[in-house]
């Protein structure tokens, strides 16, 4: 194998296009025509077959192969996938207009989707970052060892509360949720040492939830608050405070993102509790899954 040029191949990851442009002058005329096409439109070239590209460069397939070897590839297919990868990497990052937070009046649906998703994803990530594992651990301990768990929440946070209740229930913990304040107060009054009360409120100012948590605390239960605002009133009646990190934007979008953040926290606690007694939780999950099985239709298979 005497005649291979052996270019110093530092193009491991990126910079294939740059690498090719650098080699351009050292290539033969026919190869240069190929190279120029490739550099001009890497993504397009990746889509072409070797014959196509050869024709476009007014040369033969053989030359294209030679070009591949000249730039350090094994063959044409390898060049193609490298080009595709390279082209993909240069795609613009998400739209700047979208990151701001609020949705402009004239926005179309694509913008709305991008904005909401961005804010939602951010809220989830940032919530996770600022969550204190130590506090979570204590909460998980408390819930895992609790005789009974009450979860409170109103409005949008009510869904989260309800979701948490259902989750705990599914892994065999005794948990309750009450959509109604009076019932909730009654239940809180019956809590005692060793029980846990979880209050969820985005703003941390929902009097119903605070009131119930206060009651629970007075009865000796361990109280946990989940809110976006670490200094809000609800934190004053909580033994443990977990916070979400939805940025304040408008009322609406803030609340929407916060709900996702709340759910993420709930999921973390849930998995934490489940992990604490893995075997039992797994069993419970299987049993509950089996229970709803008859309400699923056969296979999702469908060919088209």
């Amino acid at each position: 194998m005497a005649k291979s040029p052996k270019i110093s191949a530092s193009h491991e990851q990126g910079g294939l296009i740059v690498h090719i442009s650098g080699l351009l002058p050292s290539l033969s005329p026919a190869e240069q025509r190929v190279a120029r096409l490739v550099v001009a439109d890497p993504a397009g070239a990746a889509r072409r077959t070797i014959t196509d590209l050869a024709t476009a460069a007014e040369t033969s397939e053989a030359t294209v192969i030679r070009f591949c070897r000249s730039v350090g590839m094994d063959g044409y297919p390898q060049l193609r996938i490298r080009l595709a990868a390279e082209a993909a990497r240069r795609i613009e990052p998400p739209d700047a207009r979208v990151v701001g937070g609020d949705i402009p009046p004239g926005a179309d649906l694509a913008q709305i989707i991008a904005t909401i998703a961005f804010n939602d994803a951010r809220a989830v990530e940032e919530t996770a970052e600022q969550l204190d594992p130590a506090v979570c651990e204590q909460v998980v301990e408390a819930i895992g060892g609790a005789g009974r768990i009450d979860v409170y929440g109103a409005g949008a946070s009510g869904f989260v509360a309800s979701d948490f209740q259902q989750k705990l229930h599914r892994i065999g913990r005794t948990a309750f949720y009450f959509p109604d304040v009076h019932t909730a107060l009654t239940s809180a009054a019956l809590l005692g040492r060793g029980d846990v009360a979880v209050g969820i409120s985005h703003t941390g100012t929902t009097s119903d939830v605070i009131e119930v948590l206060e009651q629970a605390r007075a009865r000796g239960a361990t109280t946990v608050a989940l809110t976006n605002f670490p200094r809000s009133p609800i934190t004053e009646v909580a033994d443990f405070v977990l916070t979400t990190a939805a940025r304040e934007t408008t009322y609406r979008s803030g609340a929407m993102a916060s709900r996702l953040a709340q759910l993420t926290v709930v999921d973390c606690l849930f998995v934490g509790v489940a992990a604490r007694n893995r075997a039992k939780a797994k069993k419970a999950l299987e049993v509950t899954a089996e229970a709803v099985k008859s309400h699923r239709v056969g296979s999702t298979r469908r060919r088209g």
Copy 2:
């Protein structure tokens, strides 16, 4: 009425992997083996020849081709290139242990939090990427102009359904949610042309929801399905299909992330509908906010 719904899979550029995971359950066993290899290591698959991949999946080349077609590609070379592009675009995941989806037995809470948050955020982002604005637009139109909107969902999806109902209600749309199948069926029977029925089911196989949606459709209502699996049975009774993009991991984490993705879609529709008649929606939001104000305690004194 044409039996084929509009599926919101605009996998033009991004989300190929997600798209494949969504299709996974609708594939034949042999194709699933191929799909799993591809999803597990897109970059690696892109490097392989079709024979290689077939062997690795313990199947024939023919099946690999069939798989390519099933996921909407022309053939194997196109798949390869797309995979290479996709893999290149993927940013390095923060922690290899974390991306897998499932949580290792010995994981501590910090790991659990990181894993869940990562998967949740991903599901939200990827869902947004593959949502087809055009289909959303039509759904928004339908809902915005509907005489009445019914939202159906069971289990975890029930929370999402309920949330959607509440949101629509808050901006003055007449919307209902029924936790009970019988009531839901009754309601569906009373729908007619110009009304909208929305069915939410992660798996797309929840017979209760499908049944109700079918009923609604028979009565002439416009039907919308929200599911993670674009070929699941629920899509057969829907005029419009919106998909979430939670990767299939384990039973639990898949479902958890999917719920967040569903909520994101719901939020997008909600904002879309609200934007459609901004003035009225804003007014309604203010009024409803005012209504709960007396249940908030004074100072929030948020972060310092």
